[in-house]
Symmetry: C2
Subunit: 378 residues, 2 copies
């Protein structure tokens, strides 16, 4: 049993039920093209991260503009993407558990599938499962380049693991995963550049060590929306894994460009449309979107183009708008909220309501796209 | 397209894929009975909040133990609950938007439906829609008893609105909604009691004012898992709307009983089973459950019965376990995590994996229940 979608194609924006996850198609298409053009000009392969959108439709649009495939984080996400026709998926993450490894390997019969590894035991589990199912699995060795999450230490520990992978008949050693997650949200350009330079040095050193041992790193994957240009300049990462650029998290606007201005390389293309459901007094307006429609792990969402109005005190199904100089909206008024973090916000919704001419005179629902891999967290 | 469920009935616990939303059936059933027995002994009607569980199966179990019906927060939730056979649903919230109001009113042809109102305009919209569809809608007037969210001010403003509702032919004035949300999580018993006493005085004063005007408040709804016993002692609220008691949020354990001990009236019955997917060094173990499997709006989830181990730095698909004196688990080890906030955590999952004898010698999957109203945020 599934709830009805909040809109249908052809509806006007003001007929869309709320809360609804809104895609500004014009801005979204410009963002897609901007990153594709950047990668082409920089001569770097683009493998966008589908964890952001969880949609085969969007993955196909990225591939049509030149992406070599997509990344995702979970086997269940990869299953949905392959079922929706995506032919090349890197699970840019470690996969633990016998049942899940069997599923991952089975998927390699239907599409080009890669996975990350950071332990010898895991490499052996994958090799055995691939051998049993008679497939070859492409493996990126994940090194910890400063994110302090997953990944083997660069240098000798990486060499030991790479040698194990390279010896396997059922695993193809494809290169390194050298993603620095936390660097994406360092606020100044200098902080991001410093972090990426250090990451790059560690990756280069590991590539050289492996090369001396006769192991070739064809791919060095990494980079995100916060560091894509720095990565491209340095040239170590040759497969860019940015995801958020298609929608632009509110939080990324808190990053600064090299010139000190707010990061503005991409446009806000994702919103949660919300209605003021209660306006008890002049102190507050209560919105119909709370934790179940808007993720707050990276801070509060912000009303779009409503200076002087802030969103505070979210609860499960409510958020409170307060004035900081602006005029509070009235009961029944509708606002576009900019999610501070798009990925977990998208994961709360079943449908993208795709609007043409969102900020124009006659915004209309052009399409409904399912968030097909929503809930695929395993 | 939906991902496969993480388990099937009859499986052993160690065969369940992770992350998975786990119900400890034994503890859950004790929690259900404990609150039902409490309400029966206190002579207070129980209308548990289904926003916690979003499941017709669980709602039916609550009703079978004596609940008069359930609450929910959204029309789409009510639609799913009614479709699953629940005959009496209060939408304990204001409903804005013409399309949603029509859906709410249509539902009143299939079940006893109530709704909250805090503005005259909204009362008129509801009355007109009910009249058009030729149904009578039961209405609770929501007053703000200190939560500072929705609700008209107690006293005269409430009387004006009550009079408007009472005049309508298509609305049935059923009483007051007097829920104090923030009081649920005040840490000491005294803070909670003081807040509820103030709320109770405001509600009593409003009931008397309405009574003098010939308007009877049959129902005074309110109370939650943090204040249920205080509400029952005071006797103002006569329909208790507690929801979390069935599962027990980790955050409620930070509340104190009257004797200063940690709040322990109900047991942890909800967990997210998670696997260590990476163990790069002795500093950390990386779990496969992050923001997309565990809500963190009320603080970090906690490893169950693993003192000295803390969960930190969650990202979308990862969480990092660190030692504060305890021994970190190894790669492949599985842990039960206690969600700090059950409601938004449940809303991330499609299935309850219901385990009998969870902490015993032979834990087994007894049932899979769908989180039927997951994603019903509108």
């Amino acid at each position: 049993m599934t709830a009805l979608p909040p809109a249908g194609p052809g509806m006007k924006l003001d007929q869309v039920d709320t809360p609804a996850l809104i895609v500004d198609l014009d801005a979204f298409e410009r963002n897609l093209k901007r990153m594709a053009d950047f990668a082409a000009a920089a001569g770097i392969r683009l493998r966008p991260h589908a964890k952001t959108h969880k949609s085969g439709i969007i993955a196909q649009k990225q591939i049509a503009l030149g992406a070599v495939g997509v990344c995702c984080q979970k086997v269940s996400e990869a299953e949905i993407l392959v079922a929706e026709g995506v032919g090349d998926v890197l699970v840019s993450n470690e996969i633990a558990g016998a049942r899940k490894i069997e599923r991952l390997v089975a998927l390699a019969k239907k599409a080009r599938i890669g996975v990350c590894v950071d332990s010898i035991d895991n490499a052996r589990e994958l090799a055995q499962a691939a051998e049993r199912q008679d497939v070859t699995l492409s493996v990126l060795l994940e090194i910890d380049v400063g994110g302090n999450r997953c990944g083997v230490a660069p240098g000798k520990p990486a060499l030991a693991l790479a040698s194990e992978i390279a010896r396997s008949n059922s695993l193809h050693f494809a290169g390194l995963q050298a993603y620095h997650g936390s660097a994406q949200h360092f606020r100044t350009y200098e902080e991001r550049r410093n972090a990426v330079e250090k990451a790059s040095a560690l990756a280069n050193q590991t590539v050289a060590l492996l090369s001396d041992a006769g192991i070739d790193c064809g791919i060095v994957g990494g980079g995100g929306t916060g560091t894509f240009d720095i990565e491209a300049n340095l040239g170590t990462v040759n497969e860019l894994q940015a995801g958020s650029y298609i929608f632009m998290d509110g939080d990324y606007a808190r990053n600064k460009n090299a010139d000190g201005a707010a990061f503005d390389r991409f446009e806000n293309a994702l919103f949660v449309l919300s209605t003021v459901m209660s306006r008890p007094n002049d102190e507050r307006a209560v919105l119909d979107a709370g934790h179940k429609a808007l993720a707050v792990d990276s801070g509060m969402p912000e009303p779009f183009r409503r200076p002087g109005i802030v969103y505070r005190r979210p609860s499960d199904e409510h958020g409170v708008l307060q004035s900081e100089g602006g005029t509070l909206p009235m009961r029944g008024n509708r606002l576009l909220m900019v999610p501070s973090h798009c990925d977990p916000t998208v994961n709360l919704h079943d449908w993208y309501v795709c609007i043409r001419d969102l900020h124009g005179a006659a915004p209309v629902v052009e399409a409904l796209w399912p968030v097909s891999a929503r809930g695929c967290y395993f």
